[in-house]
């Protein structure tokens, strides 16, 4: 294969509708602090950014490499906890963030390397089971080693002054909004996530990414052509893990808190799976669409479910109130998940591309 020098990925959306939707989402996220003022919308926007990057890194594994990992939140948690513990113990300093990253990213890479070498040799199904086991052990460890991680309560910490909400850069309103440290943090999250996404898009369209896809389609043929399956899969796993850890660190900075529920819980793993599957496996752009839809739905649909549940309760219908209870959100997600695996294996992006050529 001739190595082509391309500054960009050379992988356009390839669908007019898709391109328009992507542009709308990007513009919305880029100007979120000014378009949607208020604490909650900004929170949702930051979460969208974080989930897009996280889901994209997972797509590298699920969509491009064709392996199912259940340990992705573990790496996300490693990054989250790395920054959280460093900031908690060293105080609100920039070098603490650096130190946290300097420990967390290599640790994530090392863990991913070990798990990959260990379990990707045999078969991918092994990998799924082993990552599930390791991730659940890690979750238990994080909630038990309370001297380090704060246990179930997690760690709340202060971020450097520049990023604190109290720091006001432009006291007068810019389009009706004051620019504070919170805005700066949002842009830190947004730019970092955008860069990570572009990096991943570049990787999957590189010769390395092509080999990954070849292995996904036909491992034996790829191996016969001289590509070492284990090495490629393990490298993909390591790369995905490092990106996930970086995203985890961003999440910790945004929330100023890290705990088992926000960084390690199995629900996040399911969310990522769902985003990637619904958005479209093996498309990268699917992460943007899936992530946006998912986070919006999570934040606004649950309220709707609560209304439906209450209405059904008043109407005296049996069972419906408990089925539509906001806590049963996962039930509908799960059904949607199964349905999308059956009926839209290529997800929304695949549908859009198929629809308009």
């Amino acid at each position: 294969m001739m190595p082509r020098v391309m500054p960009l990925s050379g992988d356009p959306p390839r669908s007019r509708v898709l391109a328009v939707v992507l542009i709308v989402i990007m513009v919305g996220l880029a100007f979120a602090p000014f378009l949607f003022p208020g604490a909650k919308p900004l929170n949702v926007a930051a979460k969208v950014c974080i989930f897009i990057a996280l889901a994209a890194s997972y797509d590298l594994l699920l969509g491009y490499t064709g392996v199912v990992s259940f340990a992705h939140t573990m790496f996300y948690g490693v990054g989250s906890y790395g920054v959280a513990i460093a900031l908690y113990s060293l105080g609100a300093r920039w070098d603490a963030i650096g130190l946290g990253l300097a420990i967390a990213l290599p640790l994530a890479a090392l863990l991913a390397f070990a798990i990959g070498l260990f379990s990707l040799r045999v078969q991918t199904i092994f990998f799924a089971m082993i990552t599930l086991a390791v991730a659940s052990a890690f979750l238990v460890l994080a909630s038990q080693l309370s001297w380090l991680t704060g246990g179930e309560d997690g760690r709340s910490f202060r971020v450097p002054e520049l990023l604190q909400p109290g720091t006001v850069f432009v006291p007068r309103d810019v389009l009706g909004v004051a620019v504070t440290g919170r805005t700066l943090t949002y842009y830190l999250v947004f730019v970092s996530c955008a860069l990570l996404f572009l990096l991943l898009l570049r990787v999957v369209n590189s010769p390395f990414g092509r080999v990954l896809q070849a292995i996904r389609e036909n491992p034996f043929r790829a191996e016969a052509l001289g590509y070492r399956i284990v090495i490629h899969r393990t490298l993909a796993n390591v790369l995905a893990a490092v990106v996930a850890a970086a995203v985890g660190a961003l999440n910790a900075l945004w929330l100023r808190y890290t705990g088992p529920d926000t960084a390690l819980s199995f629900n996040i793993m399911l969310d990522i799976l769902l985003i990637v599957v619904i958005g479209g496996m093996g498309t990268m752009y699917g992460a943007i669409i899936g992530g946006t839809l998912f986070v919006l739905a999570q934040n606004y649909l649950q309220a709707l479910m609560g209304t439906v549940s209450a209405a059904a309760g008043e109407a005296g219908l049996p069972l419906l109130p408990s089925l539509f209870h906001p806590d049963r959100w996962l039930l509908w997600l799960g059904i949607l998940f199964i349905a999308s695996v059956y009926f839209f294996p290529s997800g929304i992006v695949g549908k859009l591309r198929g629809g308009s050529g």
Binding site: A137, L273, L319, G334, F337
Partner: protein, 348 residues
């Protein structure tokens, strides 16, 4: 991935399975290691052997319950090449179905008569097993059948099935834990010398042994077992010889689900409470056991379950924090020794 290293030594007349007894010694080894560990802690005195006996029996009982849950999963994987992430759901469903019978019969459970107790427990077990078997049938036909041979989709879909089942349990039974007290005649313990042995643990050990031995007998002594073993080796060949492998699949899937249900009932009684999250929690343990045993092997699964349970119990006594990672450590150790598990049966 398909057959690659299934070739065995050619030339041997009628290759007879080589007896491989080494893994059988492992549980013994772990038990001795546990004793030595307790000795280290109480050095220079000998450790109290009654504590060791209690721990060992507890480990065996837990191991048997895990084995009952895991055996179904390993058989299903061996025969159909399906890794059912929804297996945990059947465990939880079994336990919930049992509460449906046991809670209305609470009076019989608390009565001081073994017959009344049995009159409550036996129907509960039957309902749980029959219910999970029927659900297993539906799950296999509706959810898994369309994705045979596609590992990625299988994992995703069965995982989705697991989530949906768990949420439906929450919706039907509410999010709270349901207490499930042991029947009176199974409470309390036998006193053997210094050691106190809980009656229910003995029941678990016996039940586990019965399941294990009858599975071995069915697999090795009956025609169905022969077909199942042949199906594990080479599905297409069995089909070519004129057997309907699909029926076999369905049967094994139902049996495996029923075993998961039985395990769920036993676990619920052991913990004396039932909640919907138990399926997911146990699934991880079951996976570790199945991996240690070698995907598809019943004997390996049995040994793996005992190993994991014994090690967890000793470690929980000696260094409680360590008990959190013993399963993983054990799995890593076994896989370093035998990368495909203790008894890898499938050629896949």
């Amino acid at each position: 991935m398909s057959a690659q290293d299934g070739a065995t030594d050619a030339g041997a007349a009628l290759p007879k399975a080589q007896a491989d007894f080494l893994p059988l010694l492992l549980p013994l080894l772990v038990a001795i290691a546990g004793y030595l560990g307790m000795w280290c802690q109480s050095f220079p005195q000998l450790p109290s052997s009654s504590t060791w006996v209690t721990l060992t029996i507890a480990g065996l009982a837990m191991g048997m319950m895990i084995f009952i849950m895991a055996s179904g999963l390993t058989l299903i994987f061996g025969l159909m090449d399906v890794l059912n992430f929804g297996h945990g759901a059947f465990i939880a469903i079994g336990a919930y179905l049992a509460t449906l019978v046991l809670l209305p019969l609470g009076g019989w459970m608390q009565a001081d008569s073994i017959w009344l107790n049995l009159a409550a427990v036996v129907p509960a077990v039957i309902v749980a097993m029959a219910g999970t078997a029927v659900l297993g049938l539906a799950f296999e036909r509706v959810v898994i059948a369309p994705v045979y041979g596609q590992h990625l989709k299988q994992i995703l879909i069965t995982m989705g099935g697991m989530i949906v089942a768990e949420q439906i349990l929450y919706a039907l039974f509410g999010p709270q834990q349901i207490p499930l007290p042991l029947p009176t005649s199974l409470r309390g313990s036998f006193q053997i010398g210094e050691a106190a042995i809980e009656k229910y643990r003995v029941v678990c050990v016996v039940a586990g042994l019965v399941v294990f031995l009858s599975m071995l007998a069915i697999l090795n002594r009956t025609r169905i077992g022969l077909l199942i073993r042949a199906g594990v080796e080479n599905t297409e060949m069995v089909e070519a010889l004129g057997y309907r492998i699909t029926r076999l699949f369905v049967g094994v899937f139902m049996a495996g689900s029923a075993l998961a249900g039985l395990g769920g009932v036993m676990w619920g009684l052991y913990r004396e409470q039932v909640n919907a999250a138990m399926g997911g929690e146990l699934l991880v343990l079951v996976f570790i056991v199945v991996i240690i045993g070698g995907l598809g092997s019943v004997t390996g699964c049995f040994i793996g379950a005992l190993l994991v349970a014994l090690a967890t119990n000793y470690a929980g006594f000696l260094v409680p924090k360590l008990a959190l990672v013993t399963d993983i450590a054990l799995m890593v150790a076994v896989l370093l020794w035998r990368p495909r598990g203790l008894y890898p049966v499938t050629s896949r």
